[in-house]
Symmetry: C2
Subunit: 202 residues, 2 copies
Amino acid sequence: MKANLPESAKRLIERLAELPSIGPRQATRLAFYLVAQGGDAIHGLARDLDELGRVKICERCFFVHQNPGRLCHICESPSRDPGVIMIVEKETDLLSLENTGKYTGRYCILGIIPKTGILEEWQKLRLQNLKRFIEKELGGQAKEVILAFNPTSAGDFNASLLMKELAPLAKTVSRLGRGLPTGGEIEFADDETLGSALERRS
Amino acid sequence: MKANLPESAKRLIERLAELPSIGPRQATRLAFYLVAQGGDAIHGLARDLDELGRVKICERCFFVHQNPGRLCHICESPSRDPGVIMIVEKETDLLSLENTGKYTGRYCILGIIPKTGILEEWQKLRLQNLKRFIEKELGGQAKEVILAFNPTSAGDFNASLLMKELAPLAKTVSRLGRGLPTGGEIEFADDETLGSALERRS
């Protein structure tokens, strides 16, 4: 298929096709779209990418930042409670939670939990890092650790494990509420959701 | 949502979200994926993009190329019949047709035909360019012009128009065959397709 393309286009299509949720067909279409936009637009995108390459990862919560120091703006902020830590899977989950404007603690990004439920080695290291932080900086006990994993079987499984594992390190270990989504309709809620909503009625 | 991100990440996400078939959510996920890959991977992608920015557009058929001259490798090839020209909508259509190994003529890329069926000004200029080529280089008449547009109403509409418009400029103006796709099942073919297959039985 790509035999007839210039080398540079082939190489870029291969790179783009390696990105998550972009297949070879979409990668090819993107490359042609970019060529049609012209050299200036392409070089502009390349410059923005190079800039992104200078983004750093917070050494405490693993969120992205461009601060001169080692910590992101959330971990550095004096108005955020260091004793309350929410463990999330993804950066985008953190952004959604920040968007609610209802959380004033800090975070720890664990990475997407594999479907098998078994954490990767680097994910275990992030949990070690969190425990070390609680021991050294919070005197061995956090006020609260909130487990904000996706409500999937892999997420629930790890949440159960961590509830026990972190119990000695926090006054409270909690999980996000389960029930009807706001704006949802009871008629269309699945059994699991409706069951949770019943159990956790308030 | 993006208020909490470094400037460079915000800018890249905005750029990515402008690309066709990539929404803001996928753009955000891609940016985080790239950051997780690390600076080297990101700078590599930026370098490949810069290379792509040097790709040229063939002055005759509008396909991409990196030759020193003005023409792509298909237009330059002495083994391709310059008197047979296939008008396609997209570069990817050209690649699919090349892949069949059954075509030895040349191409003219018209660009995606708008859903309204009305061609853009730059698309009309490409047709002008084709007519000029036939007049100057083929003595006023091509052997064959093949219209290879998508079998949609906009594609069919423009094919009908061009059949008449190009009739004086080619011995034959043809269109790609219509009928059952190979490997398809009659049971699941839509009425239009099955009707075409009946009409054009051979």
